[in-house]
Symmetry: C2
Subunit: 694 residues, 2 copies
């Protein structure tokens, strides 16, 4: 549905009369695109979207252009699960998994290339992507990242699919709150073993991929205890990771292990999720993944990282790739879905407009709004996704080159790491929330045909659905993003304790914030060129960035003001204050996300050649993204006296004009996604007669 | 996700300072509810929700409180389809289907009771509801409504499940646009038969329930032709309905019939949807459902309704029950889902607040917003749904009593029928769009557990998903609602042609509109008590109704202004003008829907006894619905100068206060839905330790 809050009267830009009264809003308004699209624009747009690892994308496109990878809904559960194995084998033969692993463990360490390849898998089949993500990203990834030389043999077997395994982090009682998992790993000096135990029903490892059928070994996140002289297990050293074989070669549970099968889920039915419980299961001391912590034979605990808190986040930080690839794959599945829905809308005719000429769906205004507004956001997301992958790639290069010691980072590196994690969380939230909303919209936009599984939209919807709550629940991640905004601000106020420094006042938060974050010079130049706002064109890129920043900054300022007193309160009152501001914190995070998205688009646009045939189209996509976002928040902009009512009305009217202009180009816009043909060649497209009767 | 556009800063009502400056906004502000809920309130709320057919609800609750009806996801396709038959048999034994059929055909004609019973089926299993809806509502319903005495035997066999059949309206090329279906039924004088034919691939009947497996006979909607003396088939008399046996007793297609199977869908996999094509299939003349049109043996066409257009809509109008029951069942599935998600949120703990005390999910502000705002709307929808059922029931009673001749209604009856259809469309759209959004929210609010099919949320989501696009695509229905608003207005301007009268000016549209529609006297009294707006409390029910009406009226006025010139234009320009206003038309329709919802709540509240323990709770639900809707449209209200920025901020802050007040009562609010225990007793509720450790 077009959101009831969005489509609204009136549309003054259609006549241009009212709009003229809203300041210089019309200056810089892009001319309507020609009715006949230029296919050359698709190439230019694709180049932008493909980004730095364009060659990887092309290779994977060739690999994926094969019905072999297409979802086959309706298989019985066991068959569906087995169906995935040959797909993973083919990926392994192609070498798709090797970039995920460090050179030390036999991989190629090509972070950027391997994340890009995982993203591309999302075009095809999210179950294949998740299965490979469980095996190579999570299970393999944790052994690679937290293990040492003594675990290298495991890594090789994991790469070659000789050792399928599981990532045992989430517990029934603790999902996103990993620091408080209840599973214990207590060292037994006598036998030189860890005793792994699930003390309560809620401590069962839950929703674990590869648990119900294929996994043999699991990386268990547990509270680590080393008994003192009297044998008392003492305090936990915090959450650590221990390898536990949980199924024998015949597929039966190991002694002391109880496995249950989650069975059918809302999607990803091929993934064999289950729970695993441990009843005092013993594993050798060497099974501790010991890169950041070691327990000696006599039970002495040591770690290169002193602070338990930092140790915990260092271990978790190495797993950032999972979060990034989930967002990336969700974005790819969304682009596949948009490709299908847009192509259908360009063919399907319904209801007469001019007598004798039934209009295509895409010729209807509401249809343009429901597909093209999310499509513009998909462009922004793809560009932002490319940036986060590139950034992680560069960071991993520094680490591999020994210029960044993960166990002992410089203070600057710690801040960079935090910002990276916050950025990854932001992109993951943005991409997965967008996927859920947009794929649903695509399905509805195709009516009854959209509900048929063979047309893939319901499959992508069901499979991507869990992405909003796994690898970090979006609501939790949004709070992480919001808190990082406050903390980063606090840091720039000279490193004081965040809450303490709040008392110093917050009036300069904006300036500080923008000095800190890495804004592209081209974007900043555009922002600096903004003149008196009441005169500024709504289509001015720099002005749009400023409006987005206003939202972020004002929300942050008022949030900080609200929380300023919390430090002095009783704990219960402070908790109530923070809880009372939770929706505010989340609004901050969304504002931050929207800023990141717009700046990615503006930066890209500024780098395009003036004669690039893609430029006028991309310009309208950027305007569509910016102005539709402003229209969505028109209430807030007016409440804050940042935009007057004529300007918010003009923004909404411009959205209508832009979708009308882009409507005939919709095919080009999805061609630029360059989804392999076999993956979007659904029956409803050939069953529906085309515009030319074909 | 909490919509990025909704949660926003600041929350001044928490401190009450800023809010005081926003006029008398605080007057009439309801006091915060006690922290310990009163179970007696649940009874009072249930009484309101149960409405006139409370006894039917209680009977069906007993019938449904049985795991027998629970969805069993994961069955192989054939088994899943067969699984439905015993469920339908049990319904038939219970007599649930009889109310749908007229006394003349052996039913009981209890429209209200039977629609209420169908609604209750939505609590349990939408596949059972849809299968019974296909068999008794659509297939049985069309034979009952458009057939005559010569079809009575069919009706009896349909009720008893001896004759399973299909409703052959939708075509691949024409979904919502029934008037333009391509299938033909041409009378052959020689053999006294109709020749039913699908002339093009796009004319195949598509997405037809009971087609792929169980159906034996189909009611085909086709263009009816009666050849003239020369044998030329001539012009179509319009769409009529003809019974065509399409599968023999062994289940094989009849000669000339081609059946395909749609196979797996995004939900409702148990329903055997398929396509049916006819290659000059012959059926006896008597197979025409001849209540509103007859073809004599010698091929003479006659109808008690002269206008082909009115004839078409009369035939379709008799099928209004399907649309109403789809909305009703979607509402019930939503209430089941909210029951599950709210109960989970009251038990599930995550993240520490006060040390040593992990908060329940429901204690988090964002969680309250994401569940309680839609819950309040669910209350409004349930009440509005009761009203439309009651209204149809009364109308059918008049028809049965001979006081309303469907073939020759009075002018007033024609208008009432139109308004009924528009109202049914509005309720269907409101309920199904709400179901899609809310069940999705429920699933996400339960994290990983919400994704497990055994916890039913993904099942309800997948099954209800198609409700937004079948029985009338929501986007199409919204336009119908919007057009009816214009037409009704035109009628009150003394019956002129709608477009012609637009020239007369539109300034009094509001007054006219409200004189016409049947607003409860209690509601109008409240509206009339509104004082100077700037002084009025945001919590005043009459003021809220006025604000909702303002949205509806202003949108309608400006729409009419935009379309005023269309009549004088060239057809292509007029089409462009109407298309350019499509989003505006839809915004009107949503405003109308919101008005209907609020008025249903206000009317109900006004009728409650002052000492009803449910009153303070219901009052807060009404305020929550009203103020969250106003906050959603805060941009529009400010653009129109109807609300100042302090007041829209105050509305948003009040929403936060209201969900905080209602949070501890959430359990009571879903208890009042009284969903049979067996239907919401999902594993995650017993796996999660409760507040008291149970």
């Amino acid at each position: 549905m077009v959101s009831p809050g969005f489509a609204c009267d009136p549309s003054p830009m259609s006549t241009n009369d009212d709009a003229k009264t809203a300041g210089g809003v019309d200056a810089g308004r892009p001319p309507r695109l020609p009715l006949t699209p230029d296919p050359a624009a698709a190439e230019g747009l694709q180049r932008i979207l493909d980004g730095r690892w364009a060659d990887v994308r092309e290779r994977v496109r060739g690999f994926l252009d094969d019905p072999f990878f297409l979802p086959e809904p309706g298989l019985p559960l066991d068959e569906a699960r087995e169906w995935l194995i040959p797909r993973l084998r083919r990926m392994a033969e192609f070498g798709l998994q090797r970039g995920s692993f460090s050179v030390a463990h036999g991989g190629t360490g090509d972070t950027g290339g391997s994340l890009t390849a995982m993203e591309m898998m999302g075009h095809a089949n999210l179950a294949v992507m998740v299965k490979s993500g469980v095996q190579w990203g999570l299970w393999g990834g944790v052994v690679d990242a937290l293990g040492t030389g003594r675990h290298s043999a495991y890594v090789r077997d994991i790469m070659d699919l000789k050792l399928l395994g599981s990532f045992g982090m989430t517990e029934l009682g603790h999902g996103s709150d990993v620091q408080n998992v209840e599973t214990t790993a207590i060292y037994d000096r006598e036998t030189k073993e860890f005793v792994v135990n699930s003390p309560t029903p809620a401590s069962a490892k839950a929703y674990i991929g590869n648990a119900a059928a294929h996994g043999r070994m699991v990386a268990v996140f547990a509270q680590l205890h080393t008994p003192d002289a009297s044998g008392d297990p003492g305090e936990s050293h915090g959450v650590h990771c221990v390898l536990v074989p949980f199924r024998d070669d015949e597929g039966n549970p190991m002694p002391g292990v109880t496995i249950t099968d989650h069975g059918i889920k809302g999607g990803l039915v091929q993934i064999d999720n289950g729970t695993i419980r441990f009843d005092h299961v013993r594993v050798p001391r060497e099974n501790l993944l010991n890169r950041f912590a070691e327990v000696s034979e006599d039970g002495a605990y040591s770690s290169p990282i002193d602070s338990p808190n930092r140790r915990f986040f260092t271990m978790l930080g190495t797993l950032i790739r999972g979060r990034i690839s989930v967002g990336a794959a969700a974005g790819a599945a969304t682009r596949s879905s948009l490709t299908i829905a847009v192509r259908y809308a360009m063919r399907r005719r319904q209801f007469e407009g001019v007598p004798g000429h039934e209009k295509t769906l895409m010729e209807h205004r509401t249809h343009r709004l429901r597909l093209l507004v999310p499509l513009a956001r998909s462009y922004a997301l793809a560009l932002l996704q490319n940036r986060i992958i590139e950034r992680l790639h560069e960071q991993e290069k520094l680490i591999a080159a020994g210029e960044w010691d993960v166990a002992n980072p410089t203070e600057e590196q710690q801040w960079k790491q935090r910002e990276m994690e916050s950025r990854a969380a932001a992109v993951k939230v943005a991409a997965t929330a967008h996927a859920t909303a947009t794929i649903q919209e695509c399905r509805e936009a195709c009516g009854g045909a959209g509900y048929m599984a063979e047309n893939l939209l319901t499959v992508h919807k069901a499979d991507s659905d869990v992405f909003t709550t796994f690898e970090g629940d979006n609501t939790v991640l949004l709070q992480l993003v919001g808190k990082e905004l406050i903390t980063a601000y606090a840091r720039d106020m000279s490193g004081l304790d965040p809450l303490a420094m709040l008392r110093y006042g917050v009036d300069n938060v904006g300036d500080v914030l923008w000095r800190r974050t890495s804004v592209a010079a081209t974007v900043q130049t555009l922002v600096d060129s903004v003149t008196d706002r009441d005169e500024e064109s709504l289509f001015h890129a720099g002005y749009q960035v400023k409006l987005f920043r206003d939202r972020e900054q004002n929300l942050l300022k008022s949030l900080v003001r609200r929380l300023r007193g919390a430090k002095k309160m009783e704990i219960a009152d402070a908790v109530a204050a923070v809880d009372g501001a939770q929706d505010h914190l989340i609004a901050c995070a969304w504002a931050r996300i929207d800023s990141l998205l717009l700046e990615a688009m503006v930066e890209e646009e500024a780098a395009m050649a003036a004669d690039d045939p893609a430029l006028p189209v991309f310009n309208q996509l950027r305007n569509l993204f910016a102005l539709s976002t402003i229209a969505t928040h028109s209430g807030w902009y007016q409440e804050q006296n940042i935009l007057g009512r004529l300007r918010t009305k003009a923004a909404r009217a411009a959205v209508n004009d832009l979708v009308d202009s882009l409507g005939p180009w919709a095919g080009v816009l999805v061609d630029a996604f360059a989804v392999p043909r076999a993956l979007v060649d659904v029956p409803m497209l050939s069953e529906t007669p085309g515009v030319d009767g074909n």
